[in-house]
Symmetry: C2
Subunit: 200 residues, 2 copies
């Protein structure tokens, strides 16, 4: 227990979050337990109960912690680049262990609807709702795009096409495809006419 | 066996396909067997082996048989309506038992890549590749759309947004949302500028 005792608060938190993700993968949402997470992370159950009310609380916090926050470049002169970078955040995130946790939570939504709902409200919505939405809203607020065109359907186009590519091919879109998604689908929807043969 | 003996060829085929779907749901792709399908459908194993080389062949045929073929209305004056109807085919299909079979096949793609590949090549690609693609290609071929704008990214927009709505909400998009997907995302990508406040 000496090595354990020397863990910093941050290391312990990281261990606990990793344990929650491992617990989810191995036993499933319905059978996750504080005891299991305590054992996997080498932490006392009582310590866990002091801070979290349930295993899924730890899980949500782990997802929240690793979920990227889309950013906008300084100036308002790179809508295209900002949109591509927003989709890169999504692609990078899908390679993390929490992405698989999110997949499990959504696959089990029929049995655990409250967990899926918490995921949207406490994580996705807090981080901008959809990748590309923060960027599009920013340019619209500053008069570079018609705000009426930045609808929920339009802010979902980039994310939908990236995830569709995963579903169809089993692999992430490359840089060329991300640029094409922005040029051929996202920009036309906000009033930038599609250009044939645009270079990426 | 008297009732069985009186089944028509078509009834027997329907029973066998339904049995393949049930077998998939209950035992999974890796453990599907001709014996299992024979038993569930009340058919002799030898009959199955005469026509199909494996259980997944029966499964693919079942999916192929129920997968809708997108159509184009006579005349070339209803691009918007044709696109909405194309997405309705997709929504209607997702309520069928074969949609769940497709979901299982794609979820198991890492373990059974050849089956996922066969699904795309023998079913999806044969039926137009993507919902809305047949319509968009048709209008482009007749000079109503610039063919260079009808790319693989663009023909995937409608299907991606419909499936994304399922993933986010767990339920199918309604008629209003389907029309908005066409107006706000698909049409702008093929050069029809987005219109603010367009009625659906």
């Amino acid at each position: 227990m000496n090595a354990r005792a020397r863990r910093s608060q941050e290391e312990m938190l990281a261990d606990i979050r990793a344990a929650a993700l491992a617990e989810l993968t191995e036993v499933g949402i319905g059978r996750m337990s504080m005891a299991g997470i305590a054992q996997r992370s080498g932490t006392a159950r009582t310590s866990l109960h002091r801070r979290w009310s349930s295993p899924t609380e730890i899980l949500l916090e782990a997802v929240e912690d690793s979920y990227p926050q889309e950013t906008v470049s300084p100036g308002l002169d790179d809508l295209r680049g900002d949109l591509i970078r927003a989709l890169e955040f999504l692609v990078d995130w899908t390679a993390t262990p929490t992405a698989r946790a999110v997949e499990s939570i959504l696959a089990e939504r029929a049995r655990h609807p409250e967990l899926a709902q918490a995921l949207y409200e406490r994580v996705f919505d807090q981080k901008g709702g959809r990748f590309t939405r923060t960027v599009l809203m920013h340019y619209a607020e500053h008069g570079y795009l018609d705000p009426a065109l930045v609808t929920d359907v339009v802010t979902d186009i980039g994310e939908a096409l990236v995830l569709k590519h995963f579903a169809d091919s089993g692999s992430p879109p490359d840089a060329v495809l991300l640029a094409r998604i922005v040029d051929e689908a996202v920009l036309p929807a906000v009033g930038v006419p599609p250009v044939v043969g645009r270079e990426s």
